[in-house]
Symmetry: C2
Subunit: 592 residues, 2 copies
């Protein structure tokens, strides 16, 4: 695919929504439930609090969307939390944000595929023993789709995302209709009744749990370069649309859960309970469950779109290895995709597919960059003071304070589940710093003054280890003769008889190259050979480049490699440890 | 270590017994028990049959020892079943024998370490959950000992083997004394009483079970080259000594088991029951248990001494890869040792340390080469007819018929445990044949007529991919200039601006090498580069050797490799697939 075709790979709004929103939208499947799980500790009467809490979450969502819209217009080349924090607060803040997000994308994949597996195994309990395999299978599929390229995966993925939106909206409309028609037998707890034992702390905890519904909102602002032109406008519109859909679905489900008097149960999700109450266990119910499983599976895809982009940006700034900048044939960021797939697969295996406990960590990993990003925007408004800067500054301040509060609530109320962030975040940032330091030192080392530093003229000596006289040796000598007149063939013998025979045979062949015969006292070919090469290097390195020619059999079948080249490998490994010896690999292609 | 020091590595009789006999001697720990487990199905009254059966096993042992002594003198350079069968019965028989033994050595390691682990975890039940880890730890230790060299391991291993012999002899003497002194309360079943339900089939099955005590006897005749001179005489003496010790210990334990009226139990071994009855649960008892565990652990060592030797012989005959002929620095056969360690570790992991079910397979895998080896000796006597050949011929015939019968009994009575031999043995022999065919075809292909075939004179073109101007490029160009006048540097640009800048900079630097600038339409550096190399090869291959020079960063720390050389790797992988392009690796050593 040509660079000019790259534009065709870019996303329009409809496709972008599909690719970038599944993570955010899928949170609807568990957001309300997370709130109810906290409230139920006070009994069914406390369930009404879910309504004001859900409204608060929607309020926070509004603030985040507004804040990120400003970021999109301020950073048109893709301004994730990493860029915003780095630009305005300094490198360390940027790395904290970037590191959190990178780790978070890995968690996204692990958590989403595991949750989707749960949905499937709930429907088909016979599969329950194969949870890990199913989750790994999902990771494999998403990986392959993403390695094949963004547009293709988008086309594949559009339908489930929109089917999910339609299904949930149908559920909300159907549920609302049933309730208005008076067909609902439920007795919701009295709205506004004071429940004994209620505390602000508990309410904030429920609120923070509900905030898990907001994970994934940042995806759009990270992926601006993926959008069709005008990219910022399209991205902002997509973000707004996504926020709207997310808000409607989340609020609708929270309302229905309250009206239908639903409490969280271990064996059945809240969404499943609502769907079952509204439509009965018919085709509608199973459709909703199926698309829910699908959207959770696709949530992993958001991470696969976002991770390689962020890794690319970090690599461009020299905080991650070069390899995340190499674009593959399908223009995807293959290395980032594979890296993400491997790490998330390891998480799934390590947690045996039970990654639910990772959800708070996952949410915290999102709110740290949220906070830093908005703090960065505050700084930006204060520094630049464009006309009318006060309103956006206040929005960002409000947002920053809210997300900061949520971070603190997570740390206080869920420390046992999120403490590990204090371990891995410093490690990740340390690695970023180390990589950066290495690349900077490297650049200094390799810098060359083109006015004064020219290639030094030198001679050349070529050493060819030979094990006998064969087509391979003939081939190698012919090659060496095309490069230098100073060639030495070296043979290692184990006995006088052996050495004499070789000497005579070589004289008879007379290939125009002198042969040095070494005696091995150690029954080892390698040692005398290395000693000889060392001597040549010691004598000649000042005036000549020393090259060792190693024939390499190119076999017709892969398993034939097990039968050859072991000595070549040993020689190569040794020579890599030597100063300044060059290795020329001379392929010899076997016909059979 | 010099070849002349190789003699010092050779084994004297005392050390040879330690290194080569632990497999055979350790069988005493379960040989009697295997017989009793079959007899107990008819009740305690049938236990007396263990005495005549044990005598029969001793008889078989005598025949095997006599037979192998003749082999040792006939094949002084190390005549295992492989050599004897191949020389006298043909290659296929030799490969069947050799293949069986190779697989058997793997089983030896797995079974012995697992059994030793059992002994340990019986003493310390708290370790029971870590069976696999303990067995793998043992394999690691034996591997390291063997990689360090034979003599050293022999010195380490001498003590436990002799301690085991002393402990078992002490048990037999102590037990005999107690019985003569009339201190034993046991009521052994009446000797010679006819037990209802007894059949020849059952007796033969018990006999074959008892034959598991004879595994490992072949080790000495395979390892003759490891002995001090006169090797055959020392080996024969060692074999005789081993047979004597084995016979005395096995018969002694069978007798004590009968006299003390012991039946096999699930939770306690027969040896443990005897030791407990003779000495009580004191220091003597625990010493016996400890050395038993140790000797079972060391039994694995026999396989580590024998496997690399047999692999070496098969590799010399071109039935196994060359790599099993390369001697490592410590004169051990490192590749064979590592190969054996890995495969046995896989078996231990696959069977989760419960390899007891492999014992019949393991025994059958020994008796197949026994049979073939003796059949080979029969053939030899008939062909050569040396003076007085009839007696040894009859001994070998008797031995062959006995071991053949045991093989058939195994197949009939234990098919469910040994059927897999019909799968893996043909596979192993197929692999041997394939490898042999490949090496023979290779030799034909590489053969050269030294009278007529001389190296062809040719020119040389060198291609240097460059990513910019740096010390690395300077270094590479200096090297190329020492080899050829026909050098092309290639740069891949993404934009006109980019390309123009490079062109100007190169002209300014003027290193004496022309630069070709390619335009990438695909945002890929690799593709235009490959296309260019293909074109050069297509134009020049007839008259010139084409070399591509790839700089290789030699990093100071291993993890720095993750930060470099990815593109080099890609280029190298691609060029290996090309006909006739040579790759020169130019090391660039990073200072930091």
């Amino acid at each position: 695919m040509k660079s000019s075709e790259l534009a065709a790979e870019k996303l329009n709004k409809v496709k972008a929504l599909a690719v970038l929103s599944s993570d955010a939208l899928s949170s609807v499947a568990y957001g309300t439930e997370q709130i109810l799980i906290v409230l139920i500790t006070l009994g069914a009467a406390a369930m009404w609090y879910s309504i004001p809490i859900s409204i608060a979450v929607i309020g926070l969502l509004t603030i985040l969307i507004l804040s990120y819209r400003q970021t999109i217009f301020a950073y048109t080349t893709g301004g994730g939390a990493y860029i915003v924090a780095k630009d305005n607060l300094g490198t360390t803040s940027g790395l904290v944000a970037g590191g959190s997000l990178l780790v978070d994308y890995i968690l996204t994949v692990a958590v989403s595929t595991s949750a989707s597996t749960d949905a499937i195994t709930s429907a088909f309990p016979v599969l329950h023993d194969h949870r890990v395999l199913i989750a790994l299978f999902m990771i494999t599929i998403v990986t392959v789709l993403n390695l094949r390229g963004i547009t293709e995966s988008a086309t594949v993925l559009m339908y489930p995302v929109y089917l999910f939106v339609v299904a949930i909206l149908a559920l909300i409309i159907g549920g609302g209709y049933q309730w208005i028609a008076g067909n609902v037998q439920a007795h919701p707890p009295e709205y506004g009744a004071v429940v004994p034992g209620i505390t602000l702390f508990l309410l904030l905890r429920a609120f923070s749990s509900g905030c898990s519904a907001l994970t994934g909102v940042e995806a759009v602002s990270n992926a601006i370069p993926n959008f069709k032109e005008p990219a910022p406008k399209n991205a902002a519109a997509t973000l707004l649309l996504m926020g709207l859909i997310l808000g409607v679905m989340f609020m609708g489900i929270s309302l229905l859960a309250y009206l239908y008097g639903i409490s969280p149960r271990r064996a059945e999700t809240v969404v499943s309970q609502i769907a079952s109450a509204v439509f009965g266990r018919g085709i509608m119910y199973y459709s909703i469950q199926t698309v829910t499983a699908l959207i959770l599976f696709l949530a992993a895809n958001t991470a696969f779109a976002a991770f390689p982009l962020l890794a690319f940006m970090l690599a461009k700034d020299r905080f991650m290895p070069n390899m995340f900048m190499v674009r593959g044939d399908r223009l995807g960021f293959s290395n980032g995709i594979i890296f993400l797939a491997i790490l998330s697969a390891i998480l799934v295996i390590a947690f045996e597919g039970e990654t639910e406990n990772l959800i708070p960590l996952y949410a915290l990993g999102v709110f740290i960059p949220f906070t830093l990003s908005q703090a960065g925007m505050m700084k930006r408004w204060i520094s630049k003071k464009p006309p009318g800067w006060l309103t956006p500054f206040l929005i960002n301040t409000l947002g920053m304070l809210t997300t900061l509060t949520i971070c603190l609530i997570f740390l206080v109320t869920k420390l046992s589940q999120v403490w590990s962030i204090f371990v891995f975040l410093p490690i990740v940032i340390f690695i970023f710093r180390k990589i950066n330091q290495h690349y900077r030192e490297l650049a200094d080392e390799l810098r060359l003054d083109i006015q004064t530093e020219k290639p030094d003229p030198k001679g050349s000596v070529i050493v060819i280890p030979v094990a006998g006289i064969s087509q391979v040796v003939k081939n190698t000598i012919s090659y060496a003769q095309s490069l230098s007149d100073d060639i030495v063939a070296v043979y290692v013998g184990f006995s006088d008889e052996d050495m004499k025979k070789m000497e005579e045979k070589w004289a008879l062949w007379n290939p125009g190259v002198r042969l040095i015969i070494l005696r091995s006292h150690y029954r080892s070919i390698i040692r005398p050979l290395f000693k000889f090469i060392d001597t040549v290097e010691w004598k000649k390195a000042e005036t000549d480049h020393v090259t060792v020619m190693i024939p390499q059999f190119i076999t017709k079948r892969w398993w034939h490699n097990l039968l050859h080249n072991q000595t070549s490998l040993l020689i190569r490994a040794y020579l890599f440890a030597r100063q300044d010896v060059k290795i020329a690999t001379v392929p010899y292609r076997l016909k059979k």
